[in-house]
């Protein structure tokens, strides 16, 4: 298992009805990286996420997770190594918030009975995502932002284990959706904290300043193709953003290792 990269994506394409959603993407993701995926609507971000989650198999190419094709993993072993937060998850039955969060522990025990350590960890996540007053509420009665926090807590509950965070991956597809600023920051605090402990994070973001501020590496997609891939500070420049988003943006350097994106003056 001595692979050099956590995730190796080798000329991966995904086709639906003869049109490419993802086209010939190749990149490697290092252990312990914090990777943001940015790109305009319909650029293939979510499909790339589904491919690297193992949810769909690529039409062409290979995706290796820990040196083994992601679609050949035993799904339960895989579930202990990588967690995924998808976009918006409606539920038809009124499960409680607590039920949903503890479902994150399914890969470790199929009966749904948590030991005290697991329980402690779930409570830590409940605190982190400010869900303490909601745990007995039904998921279906929550607002969009509250539901998002519950799903986040569930995803992070899945990736935790006493063997640490090394060689583990969490994939978050637009995790800041519906979150207010306080909860966005709480989420990023947790991401940074776990990333420092070795967890690899792949995160789809729309807010470019989030991507610049938090991620180490950035994947920029357009029209299903990988346009730019590299360290966040290098990839975020006015030229690249113009090419990707077709918008005039200014990138200011705040200091040596931080930049910020602002709108250019627009005359209305």
């Amino acid at each position: 298992m001595g692979s050099k990269y956590l995730l190796e994506i080798e000329s991966v394409s995904y086709k639906v009805n003869d049109s490419f959603i993802n086209d010939g993407i190749s990149l490697n993701i290092n252990y312990g990286d914090l990777v943001s995926i940015v790109g305009p609507n319909g650029s293939g971000k979510s499909t790339l996420v589904r491919l690297i989650s193992g949810d769909v198999a690529p039409t062409a190419g290979n995706i290796l997770f820990l040196n083994k094709s992601i679609n050949n993993w035993d799904i339960n072993s895989l579930a202990k190594k990588r967690a995924v937060l998808s976009q918006s998850m409606p539920l038809s039955f009124p499960f409680s918030v607590f039920d949903i969060i503890t479902m994150g522990r399914f890969p470790y025990n199929k009966e749904g009975k948590l030991n005290s350590e697991e329980m402690d960890h779930c409570y830590f996540l409940i605190e982190t995502f400010d869900l303490k007053n909601l745990i007995y509420r039904t998921y279906t009665s929550l607002s969009g932002g509250e539901q998002q926090r519950v799903q986040l807590a569930r995803s992070f509950a899945q990736i935790w284990n006493d063997d640490g965070y090394d060689k583990k991956l969490i994939i978050l597809d637009e995790p800041t959706n519906n979150l207010d600023i306080k909860h966005q920051l709480a989420l990023f605090d947790l991401i940074v904290k776990l990333n420092k402990k070795g967890l690899t994070v792949i995160i789809v973001l729309h807010d470019l300043n989030h991507a610049i501020f938090y991620s180490k590496t950035t994947i920029m997609l357009k029209d299903g193709k990988l346009k730019y891939y590299g360290s966040t500070l290098d990839t975020f420049n006015e030229n690249n953003l113009q090419n990707i988003f077709d918008v005039n943006l200014q990138v200011h350097s705040v200091n040596d290792n931080h930049k910020t994106v602002v709108l250019k003056d627009r005359s209305y």
Binding site: S77, F93, M103
Partner: protein, 353 residues
């Protein structure tokens, strides 16, 4: 209106026992507890236990050969309909699913009717006692096919399209209705009566042999279904989401389709189509103890049995000594409940909870 789960199950168990004895005693011919002990003990080979006189032969025959198998068959069918309703609602991730609406029961009925039609042609090959086995197996196959069909038609991108589901159910029900209509058209008075059995259901074909076959087909899957409780809860998150958590989604779906088809198939083969039990039962259980399938499945099995016992009792008592088809009772009570469900769903959509 949430109950403590232990209290809920204890209450159900008490009601179940009470209903069991009530349905066994009551009917056109009343049988007392003492007489019941007398009959059962003499059947076990101890006559005159506790100084109980042996009751009349008629009472013994009625109780042992008619009443008791009927009660047991009612319990089994109630378990089958309640449980299959619960797991099918899970499969479709939709609380409005009933084996009757989506054509699973009609699929089974269609297969059973075809067996009857063809066994008439080959009556030198298929003896009545062989038919007792052939019918549930064919009905089971019929319900597997219809479940698969409806599931394939109505599930799109991990979500059940309710309209597609109900419309495909309507199509299958219409097909079966037309075949039954054809049979009715070409049948005499005597046969006519037996067709109402298929559309409205009844427990009057009960015998010990039937109970034996039904319990094999119903109780065996039941034990496997209990272990599906937690996986089903996970499955509620969605196809992709639950497989991200390590759930083998396709295997779970296959099991649900197979088990519910087994249960519905055998119920329909022996008791015709009994509507609404599969819809109402899980819903009531959810109302009391929440949606977790770990408790919903056993709760629906128990409550399904109680509902069937109550309905059977009503069907025997209301027009005694004649009997109403049991489906008249379940449908007449179940359809107003369904309308209530629809209205409350509408409110949920409107207010977002």
């Amino acid at each position: 209106m949430m109950f403590d789960k232990k209290v809920f199950f204890l209450l159900l168990a008490i009601i179940f026992v009470v209903m069991f004895f009530t349905t066994a005693f009551l009917g056109p011919l009343k049988i007392s507890l003492i007489e019941m002990i007398g009959i059962v003990s003499s059947k076990m080979g101890f006559s005159g236990v506790l100084g109980i006189d042996h009751p009349s032969m008629v009472k013994e025959a009625v109780f042992w050969n008619i009443r008791l198998p009927r009660v047991f068959l009612g319990i089994l069918v109630g378990i089958a309909l309640g449980t299959s309703g619960a797991i099918l609602q899970g499969l479709f991730r939709n609380p409005l699913v009933d084996p009757g609406f989506i054509g699973v029961s009609s699929g089974a009925a269609l297969a059973a009717l075809l067996v009857i039609m063809f066994s008439g042609l080959f009556n030198h090959l298929i003896t009545p006692s062989l038919l007792l086995y052939v019918m549930p197996v064919c009905a089971m196959i019929g319900s597997i096919i219809t479940t698969l069909l409806v599931f394939k038609i109505s599930v799109m991108e991990n979500k059940t399209n309710i309209m597609m589901m109900l419309l495909s159910g309507i199509a299958i029900n219409a097909l079966v209705g037309s075949i039954i209509g054809l049979l009715v058209f070409s049948s005499d008075d005597q046969q006519l009566r037996s067709f109402t059995f298929w559309t409205l259901g009844g427990l009057d074909r009960a015998s010990w042999e039937v109970v034996g076959i039904a319990s094999t087909f119903i109780l065996l899957p039941l034990f496997s279904i209990y272990s599906l409780g937690n996986p089903l809860d996970i499955f509620m998150l969605g196809d992709s989401e639950s497989s991200f958590l390590g759930l083998d989604v396709e295997a779970l779906k296959r099991k649900i389709i197979l088990f519910s088809a087994l249960m519905v198939g055998v119920s329909v083969a022996f008791c015709g189509m009994i509507g609404f039990v599969g819809l109402v039962t899980p819903h009531l259980v959810r109302l009391f103890i929440g949606p977790s399938h770990k408790f919903l499945v056993p709760g629906s099995a128990l409550l399904g049995a109680i509902i069937l016992l109550c309905s059977d009792l009503l069907s025997r008592v209301i027009v005694a000594p004649a009997q109403l088809p049991i489906g008249i009772i379940t449908s007449s009570l179940g359809s107003p409940f369904f309308i209530y469900l629809l209205i409350s769903q509408k409110k949920k959509v409107k207010y977002g909870f």
